[in-house]
């Protein structure tokens, strides 16, 4: 029943290594900029952003698939955000297991402070590369890899 194992083509291997290198490289660059600006790490941004997009609050389990984080990872990340005073937990109406997350003023503020640093790092990374000119095609190809729909999620503003 075992397939005899068809190795991936060299082209696929080349894409794979390029993908791993590029993503690590870019992420490291952004993280470094944030840290050097005395701002929280990249993960925080995404969570703050998602919560901000939900003015009526959002539950952790709704956040989880959007952020591609494991349940316990998100749980602890939220705990840190709460400890930092950026997020509040409120009881979830109708389900006492759940909680509704809201941003505090400080949360909104730090998210806004992060964006210029974040965005500048992105701009710096892409401008002048071939990837900039071909961005739409590149995005489409990458999205094709993750199975399904390109999430509406975007760290804009």
């Amino acid at each position: 029943m075992d397939e005899p194992f068809t190795p991936p083509s060299t082209e696929i291997v080349a894409v794979w290594t390029a993908l791993m290198r590029a993503s690590r490289h870019l992420r490291d660059a952004v993280e470094a900029d944030l840290k050097q600006a005395g701002l929280p790490p990249l993960d925080w941004y995404d969570v703050l952003w998602e919560i901000e997009q939900a003015p009526d609050g959002i539950r952790p389990n709704a956040l989880e698939p959007r952020l591609l984080l494991p349940q316990y990872g998100l749980s602890r990340l939220i705990a840190r955000l709460v400890a930092a005073g950026y997020v509040t937990r409120r009881p979830s109406p109708g389900d006492r297991r759940g909680q509704l997350l809201h941003l505090t003023e400080a949360g909104r503020s730090v998210r806004r402070a992060m964006w210029p640093v974040y965005g500048a790092a992105l701009t710096r990374s892409f401008v002048g590369t071939a990837a900039e000119a071909e961005a739409p095609r590149l995005a489409a190809l990458l999205n094709g890899l993750t199975g399904k729909a390109p999430r509406p999620q975007a760290p804009i503003a």
Copy 2:
């Protein structure tokens, strides 16, 4: 002196998010397969591979830039590989600070055992996607992002 901050274009943001999602997704998939097969994590493969490519041994500081790992990260990873019996450290001739890393038989063997699982996960991830057909272009675009030359490094064989 501060630039007024030009936000990245929506196209760049789209590429960025697609890149982050795709890379995490694929890496998770490969890691999951390796773990489920009772094999070591992906990082180990790269190190084992690089050491295997150097029949006369290689020094950690030479490995470091190839693997995009921080010095202390590599140091401890090597320590784990040594503890697992996959790698040996030998004194580096001519520089008593350094060490020469060699693969043991077990190391060669586990690296070989990982490859089918690793490769199959890659194949599964790419086959049938648009990225497969456009692999060379995609790789070129991604390599354009990491500044310089596309390393000869490839996890083949």
